[in-house]
Subunit: 197 residues, 2 copies
């Protein structure tokens, strides 16, 4: 797998992006290797050349790719939540992104397909959430140094996850709008300290 020539790397990239698009459009369950082959102008042997462990291997690469996009699409705000204005811009970006995507959440579809049992999948997902939450916690510390940043960040990530889940389930963006808005509002007006459950 090492020693990829530029040409090879380009092909591999083409496969990942082509597969990602197909999966976004039709769902992982409805996309076969032949579809990917056709959409990316490749042959069966190429697919297995770049992903020796087969389809699972490939979907894993697609999942990693999608996870990366999730965070990238929140930039530059996510890395710079240093003012309430930035927080609002971030919130609007997140809501707009999910509103555009509607029910098509490639990442949740992929993980459901691959199964969290696979440690590699789990690593991708938990890693992404960890980075996401770290950025948010940094932002909390910037605007509310007295707050329990980790707790607030946990609440915020949970609100987004819930909004996304409900969006997929009911095609209604309000769960995300309300959940995220209230959570930020909550942070803004008070400063929740660690408390017992």
């Amino acid at each position: 797998m090492r020693a990829l020539t530029p040409k090879g790397a380009a092909t591999r990239q083409r496969i990942v992006e082509g597969a990602a698009k197909l999966i976004r459009d039709h769902g992982p369950a409805n996309v076969g290797l032949d579809d990917i082959r056709a959409a990316t102008a490749t042959s069966k042997s190429q697919l297995f050349h770049y992903f020796p462990d087969g389809k699972a291997d490939m979907l894993l690469a697609v999942a990693a790719h999608e996870a990366e996009l999730v965070l990238e699409e929140q930039q530059p705000y996510l890395s710079d939540l240093t003012s309430w204005a930035q927080w609002e811009a971030w919130r609007d970006r997140v809501i707009a992104r999910y509103a555009a995507q509607r029910r098509r959440c490639p990442l949740s579809a992929l993980t459901a397909q691959l199964g969290l049992a696979d440690p590699a999948v789990e690593e991708i997902i938990t890693g992404m959430y960890a980075r996401w939450q770290r950025h948010v916690a940094d932002g909390v510390r910037a605007v509310r140094p007295d707050a329990d940043a980790e707790r607030v960040a946990t609440q915020l990530i949970g609100a987004i996850a819930g909004g996304a889940t409900m969006l997929v389930a009911t095609d209604d963006i309000r769960y995300l709008e309300i959940g995220l808005t209230e959570a930020i509002e909550n942070l803004r007006r008070g400063a929740p300290r660690a408390m017992s459950l």
Copy 2:
């Protein structure tokens, strides 16, 4: 499909419950009709006798069954959120239920498998959430008549959905604990009115 004798109804029920258990344990993708046949002591012809449209038909019945359970397991609290003590008992029940289930969320797994494209699946899911949210909104009106009950209920359902999603993704119950606790706390101390986004 009408004219089910008691024996037939029992068999059908046995199939649904047996399939539900298998799916909870192994995930819908890893359960075939032969597994269900073996686990429920039935034959292929019985499966298709009771579910003429095949596997999808059967998984639909399983999904409806699981959706029913989700609400039932929150009773009697969910229908009687008339005091803060009841609210806390409800919260504890919800958290305990998900803590016990850990990553195995049969409903999300099933819907991911069946796809929300199917109107029958969507009906089951949206119907369940609608009933859930209605109960919660009733509870809000009982303890905070001045609050925007629908908005608060939306926030609460979103927090639970997010907690469940993060539990599946990261095997960490704190998202649910914190999200639900903060949302209730938020309701308790203030009374959010409708506000512009």
